[in-house]
């Protein structure tokens, strides 16, 4: 069993079939697993494979779902259950997603991996190797994501799906592809499928650094009620219920409020999600709302010289909030050797963010304006969007099922349409009234992708090759197309003027653009020796571009990427322990990369970038101990073609030099120790995150960061009490760093603007404690 495990990791994860074997990653529980059901046996393969030898195509499929969605084996007397009823089939091999393509593809079971409960769904991403999630400005701010050397900012380089729902927000004025994952409470997160690099033909828009699929799931059946109270006035309550037999069917709500760790970081959010999973079909729907203050950045020199506190804000009018309403459904089946699935979703989002990065710098008198002083740079960015998407997939085995090679073809189509109203306005510091419209557009974007591939599986190897055709089409109504217009006798101070040198005009302009691209993708996995497997994948990825930057009628360029990786995995186990290790090297080349520009509050083109790196990850279970550890090293440089517009106006990125802010070394470990008696259990966790010195502009480096989080929980029967302490060492560190020019007259040491880009930081949260009480009445 042990020796054949690595290869069958992939086979067993790629299928869902009625009566599929259930096994735990706990070696003790594996002892009880009948050999005929264990991965790596002929019986297992037979039970997992469908009749034609193919597997059910994965469109966010929950691989642990029985056909009718039921799972009755939960042990109600077991404190801290292994979530075996939820994730055991995955967890036994734990590290590969349902249909791995790239060498770095990994599936993370959140309940099992987390040493410390993540405060929200975005924080859970840190459990995946090579992923760093940071936040600037408080709990409500958009995430800042790093993956494999990509500074994916607010998510622009990673395609996110929640239960099949596309999460990246097209055309958000704060960042194309912005991601807000706080659509579900962290407790409702089952697994993360992390696929670094575009090696799977099904990966579509935004899959540049990779893609991450979040699968909901509640670990335990019955009622769930919990309350948390902690530092900085933080309070949180959750209330939910999970079907006793259908583990994919649940409802869960969350309310959260906090005063925040410093000035202007308070806020609240509410989230509700309901899911019905009947195996062959499922529907998930949710509503989320949030409203937070936002502290923004502080200048490092102002902090060092005592003009502002590390946790203060230069402008207390900053904030961020969102409404989300979404529904996603999936229908799947198998007939005549054909496995199929259709996923469809609809979402309505309204987001706003008010930030003032630069203070009082950008409001120089412009053409067409009467004389004025700097009125303040507070930027109010809003977007209201509707999104619909459909994703259909097919898979059919071909050839002789009894032959040496198992051939299969797979194909799919994906279409997504977004309708976005986006508005950016500058607000006066004195009264908050808008004084200039920076952007006012109505965007419609269509994203259509067709893909196909063929796979061959033989004795000890799997090879896949395929391709994707990707088209984007844009229709942009610019309602403020005429700006900065001046000529003699024009009326001054017109916002979006309706006249120009040639006379009266409409302030609107309509533009269209479209583009088409092709992406080959391939992967191979070869068993080199018992327990050892070589994996490799390569492909091209796409990202749609910010439509507001398009001029009319052009062949819309893509931001695209070439990626390749090569990895080696080693899995071994015994009666008392289990270990899975993986070493993956990767390389990427990106054309038309995007970087965030604080002056404009949006992404700007930044030419090409290149990255190489390596990730070493390890998962070890030994008795009550479980350790998940990863370390990623990355080398990222700019290509030779930084855009002239960028080079002329910014100096913080240089051709051939390191990409700033990307951590060259990132390490993370999650350790848990679980002890169980019949009705009492203890669970202790320790999570450590280490970020090596990061390159900053002008050959400077940041300080290294080490944070420790710890938790302890005691559960007896239905009652669970826990204490979590984050940033145990109370490290004062910069969660995010960036470089831009800013000047706040009340804070600086000069009477005149500081216009040279300077180092700005947003601090990580100081030490915080959270006490939680959770009830599981079903087990009373």
């Amino acid at each position: 069993m042990t020796r054949s495990l690595p290869m069958l990791v992939f086979l067993s994860l790629s299928v869902v079939s009625p009566g599929a074997a259930s096994a735990s990653d706990d070696p003790a529980e594996q002892d009880d697993t009948d050999a005929s059901e264990a991965p790596g046996t002929a019986a297992s393969e037979a039970s997992n494979e469908s009749d034609d030898g193919g597997s059910v195509p994965d469109a966010g499929q929950d691989p642990t779902s029985d056909e009718d969605g039921s799972h009755p084996e939960h042990d109600h007397d077991d404190p801290f259950p292994d979530h075996a009823d939820n994730a055991a089939e995955v967890e036994v091999i734990g590290r590969a997603p349902t249909d791995p393509r790239g060498a770095g593809d990994v599936r993370v079971s959140v309940p099992e991996t987390q040493a410390v409960h993540p405060p929200d769904a975005e924080a859970a991403l840190m459990l995946a190797p090579g992923v760093l999630v940071q936040r600037n400005g408080g709990d409500g701010a958009p995430l800042r994501l790093f993956l494999r050397g990509f500074d994916a900012r607010h998510g622009q380089d990673v395609a996110f799906h929640l239960d099949g729902l596309p999460v990246n927000q097209v055309g958000n004025p704060h960042g194309h592809g912005l991601v807000d994952l706080r659509l579900i409470p962290a407790e409702a997160l089952g697994t993360l499928d992390v696929r670094p690099g575009p090696t799977d033909p099904s990966q579509g828009d935004f899959a540049v650094a990779g893609s991450i699929d979040l699968e909901p799931g509640l670990p335990e059946p019955g009622l769930l009620a919990g309350a948390q109270v902690g530092s900085f006035g933080t309070m949180r309550g959750i209330l939910g219920w999970r079907h006793p037999d259908q583990r994919g069917t649940f409802v869960l709500g969350e309310l959260y409020r906090t005063d925040g760790y410093g000035e202007n970081r308070g806020g609240l959010r509410g989230t509700a999600v309901a899911r019905v999973d009947k195996g062959s079909w499922r529907v998930t729907t949710g509503v989320a709302a949030s409203d937070f203050d936002h502290a923004g950045f502080v200048r490092r020199v102002d902090v060092d010289e005592g003009r502002i506190g590390l946790y203060d804000t230069p402008d207390d009018r900053q904030g961020v909030g969102a409404f989300h309403a979404w529904t996603v459904g999936r229908l799947s089946g198998s007939a005549d050797g054909l496995d199929w699935s259709v996923t469809a979703s609809a979402a309505r989002r309204s987001t706003w963010i008010r930030t003032n990065f630069t203070g009082f710098l950008t409001d120089d008198r412009r053409p067409g304006e009467s004389d004025h002083d700097q009125r303040g740079d507070l930027l109010d960015q809003r977007a209201v969007s509707s999104t619909a998407h459909i994703d259909a997939r097919l898979r059919r085995g071909i050839g002789d099922p009894a032959g040496r090679l198992q051939w299969a073809v797979e194909s799919g189509a994906r279409a997504r349409v977004d309708d976005v109203d986006a508005l950016s306005q500058r607000l006066r510091a004195v009264d908050g009234v808008p004084y200039r419209t920076e952007l006012d557009v109505h965007l419609q974007q269509a994203d259509v992708g067709l893909w196909a591939g063929v796979s061959a599986e033989g004795d000890g190897f799997v090879a896949r090759v395929g391709g994707r055709a990707q088209a984007f089409a844009y229709q942009l109504l610019d309602r403020c197309a005429a700006q900065d217009i001046w000529f003699p006798d024009i009326e001054l101070d017109l916002d979006c003027p309706d006249e120009d040198r040639n006379g009266a005009r409409s302030p609107e302009s309509f533009r269209t653009a479209a583009g088409l691209g092709l992406a080959p993708r391939a992967s191979v996995a070869i068993d080199m020796a018992p327990g050892h497997r070589l994996l490799s994948g390569a492909g091209r990825g796409f990202r749609s571009i910010e439509a507001s930057s398009l001029s009319g009628g052009e062949d819309a360029p893509f931001g695209d990427l070439w990626s390749a990786d090569l990895g080696w995995s080693w899995t071994t186990s015994s009666d008392t322990w289990f270990a899975d290790h993986r070493l993956v090297g990767f390389g990427t080349v990106v054309t038309r990369d995007l970087l965030f520009d604080e002056e404009t509050g949006a992404n700007v083109p930044a030419g090409s970038t290149r990255r190489v790196g390596m990730t070493l990850s390890s998962e070890v279970h030994h008795g009550p101990l479980r350790a998940h550890t990863s370390i990623t090293g990355t080398y990222a440089v700019f290509g030779p073609d930084l855009p002239p517009s960028y080079v002329r106006t910014r100096d913080d990125r240089k051709a051939g030099e390191l990409v700033p802010y990307v951590p060259p070394i990132l390490a993370r470990t999650d350790l848990t120790w679980t002890w169980r008696a019949r009705t009492t259990g203890f669970r202790h966790g320790l999570a450590a995150t280490a970020i090596g010195p990061r390159p900053l502009p002008w050959s400077t480096w940041s300080e290294p960061v080490l944070t420790l989080d710890a938790s302890t929980e005691v559960r007896r029967g239905a009652f669970e009490v826990g204490l979590t302490v984050t940033n145990l060492l109370n490290a004062r560190y910069a969660s995010t760093e960036t470089t831009f020019a800013s000047w706040f007259p009340d804070l600086g040491d000069t009477d005149f603007p500081t216009r040279l880009p300077a180092r700005h930081i947003s601090p990580g949260a100081p030490r915080a404690a959270m006490l939680s009480v959770t009830l599981h009445p079903e087990v009373l």
């Binding site: 120089d364 304006e369 009467s370 390389g587 440089v637 050959s699 005149f752 216009r755």
Partner: protein, 252 residues
């Protein structure tokens, strides 16, 4: 796809260990021209009794501004960069001395402009702000202009805001108190001193002084030109003149 291995190989072989460039420390000083004394402008002999100016802040730009470089063709066909429609655009800020200092231009002793920061690389031009000051007008000049038998005491106070800046000069109003595009053509390759030389003699032109007799003297017999007369306008424009004007910015 076929180019990928080659690109990756090249990427791995040309390792960089920094983000490039470096921060440098700047110090600034304003150096009046020694011994202004008495000077000749056209038919006029001018003797200054007072000439002081509030100078700063000073910013260094990476490039020459199109307007200052005399590259008029680039104004007609702008370089395809952001904000290229601004003829004063000179690339990016590469140094700053964000302070203001009042300088007695008749005293040749250099006056410190404080400390600032810069980044290594080319510094093509400089920008000097002539902002309102707390201790008086931005520019104050007084003296006597003599032409033959005409001996005309004069004094002028200029602060570049209303009425010296008209409200409807929409296009360039902000630039009036910012002397942008002073040619520097230097390279910042380490800590440096920005030396701002000022010659008040360049504030005066023959045309402006020829109109001085038209300015009505006050009860003390001193002519005080303002923004509405030729002499006042002449001093205003002379003080802000880019080429062959009062400014001489150097890096040391």
């Amino acid at each position: 796809m076929r180019r990928l291995p080659l690109v990756l190989l090249l990427g791995a072989s040309a390792c960089s260990t920094s983000t490039g460039g470096e921060l440098v420390n700047l110090t600034g000083q304003v150096t009046p021209v020694a011994d202004v004394g008495t000077f000749q402008v056209g038919d006029w002999t001018v003797e200054l009794d007072a000439a002081d100016l509030a100078v700063g802040p000073v910013y260094l730009w990476s490039d020459r501004a199109s307007l200052a470089s005399g590259d008029w063709a680039s104004l007609l066909v702008p370089t395809p960069v952001a904000r290229a429609t601004d003829p004063y655009d000179a690339g990016r800020i590469v140094g700053e001395l964000p302070h203001q200092v009042r300088v007695d231009l008749l005293d040749p002793t250099p006056v410190s402009l404080g400390e600032g920061t810069g980044v290594s690389g080319p510094a093509g031009s400089a920008e000097i702000w002539l902002e309102p000051a707390d201790d008086g007008p931005t520019l104050h000049v007084a003296g006597t202009a003599t032409r033959g038998p005409e001996v005309l005491p004069f004094a002028a106070d200029i602060t570049w805001q209303h009425p010296w800046v008209e409200d409807n000069t929409a296009r360039n109003a902000i630039l009036i108190r910012r002397v942008r595009g002073l040619i520097l053509d230097a390279t910042l390759d380490g800590d440096a001193t920005v030396d701002v030389g000022v010659d008040p003699r360049a504030w005066f032109s023959a045309e402006a002084l020829d109109a001085l007799p038209d300015v009505t003297p006050n009860e003390d017999g001193v002519r005080i030109p303002g923004p509405e007369d030729t002499t006042g306008r002449g001093i205003d424009q002379g003080a802000r003149q880019l080429v062959d004007g009062p400014w001489d910015v150097r890096l040391r």
